[in-house]
């Protein structure tokens, strides 16, 4: 009955506000890497940044799908109070530690309510600015460069299709350790 549990945020309200600010910055400046100021004691294999984002954004109204195993799901359900979705298609937030689900298989929102789409969190091996993809679009003056190590081949093509579905489509948050960067659906991405 008693799964081994670890605490969530040390200061649930303040830490969630700090993380929310970081996610907001990341979404407003696609491709810029943000370090999260407050991290929970998340069970492996949850990356601390991904765990912090889910504690910040997920609640009882947002089904979460994740491939990080039973302990991570129990921890998240306990601290965020979110239902665990049976499939990525039913999730408001999806977290992939392994091969991410195809973007087109996630909830895309509707033309009337595009905000009802899913947000995909992907745990990548590393994030670095200055190389890799060339990102352009809203929130980027000329171009931002972002290197995300460990995404499956073909992600660029999937992203182009996702971008083309605007205003529908999925937003992506890439997480590595305690850092994250965001790709909102409005961002254009070219391989570097």
């Amino acid at each position: 009955m008693n799964a081994p549990l670890t605490p969530g945020f040390a200061e649930p309200v303040l830490d969630a506000q700090r993380c929310f600010r970081a996610v907001l910055e990341a979404m407003a400046r696609p491709g810029r890497v943000q370090a999260l100021p407050a991290l929970p004691e998340a069970p492996a294999p949850l990356a601390p940044a991904a765990a912090a984002v889910l504690l910040t954004l997920a609640d009882a109204d947002t089904p979460v799908w994740l491939d990080a195993g039973e302990a991570a799901a129990a921890w998240l359900r306990f601290h965020a109070g979110c239902p665990i979705a049976a499939s990525a298609a039913e999730a408001t937030f999806a977290l992939a530690g392994g091969v991410p689900p195809a973007l087109r298989d996630l909830s895309q929102g509707t033309e009337e309510e595009p905000h009802r789409s899913a947000t995909l969190l992907v745990q990548v091996a590393a994030l670095a600015e200055g190389g890799g993809w060339r990102l352009t679009g809203p929130g980027i003056e000329r171009e931002h460069r972002l290197l995300a190590a460990g995404l499956p081949a073909g992600f660029e093509a999937e992203w182009a299709a996702n971008h083309a579905r605007f205003p529908r489509g999925v937003d992506v948050i890439l997480c590595a350790g305690d850092r994250l960067a965001a790709l909102p659906r409005t961002t254009r991405l070219e391989a570097g």
Partner: protein, 152 residues
């Protein structure tokens, strides 16, 4: 004889219900005469939120949402790994944390008898007396009709 898990849960359900009806000050008052509680680590809370209270249409039909109730919850972990939970109506953070630590400690067979005797049973007796007083006052306002015959 029920299976041991059902029985353990029933015992736990009982003490959680009694602790939920006692204020933090009442619990702390009883703890003064009890063996010291073990050290604990907070897993979640104490934090205050809401539970939507539901009624049933017509009293016995399908559920509907009546309105929310403030609830404070706390979950703690003892050094031996036992986890205690508390959900208590209201905003008494001290009550929720003490109830969670007690829930964890009461699951330890070595601690249970002393804590039941010093904390849970006296609180239960007090609560039963309070309820009995209300029931007795209600009974005094029960109408005793003088009638020649009963009707249905």
């Amino acid at each position: 004889m029920q299976d041991p898990e059902t029985e353990r849960n029933a015992a736990r359900r009982r003490w959680m219900g009694i602790l939920a009806r006692a204020s933090g000050a009442e619990i702390a008052g009883r703890l003064a005469a009890a063996p010291a509680l073990p050290a604990h680590r907070r897993l979640r809370g104490p934090e205050t939120g809401l539970v939507m209270a539901r009624g049933r249409q017509g009293g016995d039909g399908a559920p509907f949402n009546l309105g929310e109730v403030t609830v404070t919850r706390c979950s703690v972990c003892l050094e031996d790994g036992r986890i205690g939970h508390a959900y208590v109506a209201g905003r008494d953070a001290r009550q929720a944390e003490l109830a969670a630590v007690l829930d964890a400690a009461l699951q330890d067979p070595a601690r249970q008898p002393a804590l039941l005797a010093a904390v849970v049973e006296p609180l239960a007796t007090f609560q039963a007396a309070r309820a009995a007083k209300d029931a007795a006052r209600a009974a005094a306002t029960r109408v005793q009709f003088f009638t020649m015959a009963t009707m249905r």
